[in-house]
């Protein structure tokens, strides 16, 4: 694979990395969004004086193009993941992206008559390791 030639200030560019359950589609864009629930308490004049944050998690939004070395491979990429399927991301330059995620509602497969098909995947990872393990454990 060709590499980017860089000079000057270092930059983060491109989005190299892999998804263990998505083999053939090629990643185009990836975005992580930080979320947590807040409980903010005000004083008697209405000014915030106490802050409680819970359930910090990251919502991932990843877009792929449906490609493959063969037509069968290209077709194979156009599938939905099961609800809460475990998806492991690795090899990303930014360590924040790497980790174990669960598949959440909102995935898309998008076809058009004059364009290469799109696949979009929505994922969630909890910041707390114990909580994240629980989120990816199938009950016995």
């Amino acid at each position: 694979m060709a590499t980017i030639t860089k000079r000057g200030k270092a930059t983060v560019s491109g989005i190299p990395g892999s998804f263990d359950v998505i083999i053939y589609p090629v990643l185009q864009t990836g975005k992580l969004n930080q979320n947590f629930e807040e409980d903010v308490v005000k004083d008697f004049l209405g000014f915030d004086v106490a802050w409680n944050a819970r359930n910090e998690h990251y919502l991932g939004d990843f877009a792929f193009k449906l490609l493959g070395d063969t037509q069968a491979n290209a077709n194979a990429g156009g599938v939905f993941l099961a609800p809460y399927a475990t998806v492991t991301l690795s090899g990303f330059d930014l360590a924040t992206f790497n980790g174990v995620y669960q598949n959440i509602s909102g995935g898309d497969i998008d076809l058009g008559n004059t364009k290469v098909g799109d696949l979009a995947s929505k994922l969630r990872r909890y910041a707390d390791a114990t909580q994240n393990t629980l989120a990816n454990t199938i009950p016995a």
Partner: protein, 48 residues
Amino acid sequence: MAAGNKPSESERKTAIKEYHDAASKAEKAVVMKKYPFLVHIFSEGNHS
């Protein structure tokens, strides 16, 4: 899936690759039967 039936990482990778490489829905169903844990990974498996 019971904890004792948890697939190893290599088994998981092999199964996922076989699922993706199966060219037809019928072939994917065969892979699904071979690796029952795949129903927890691919949604299609729950409906075939």
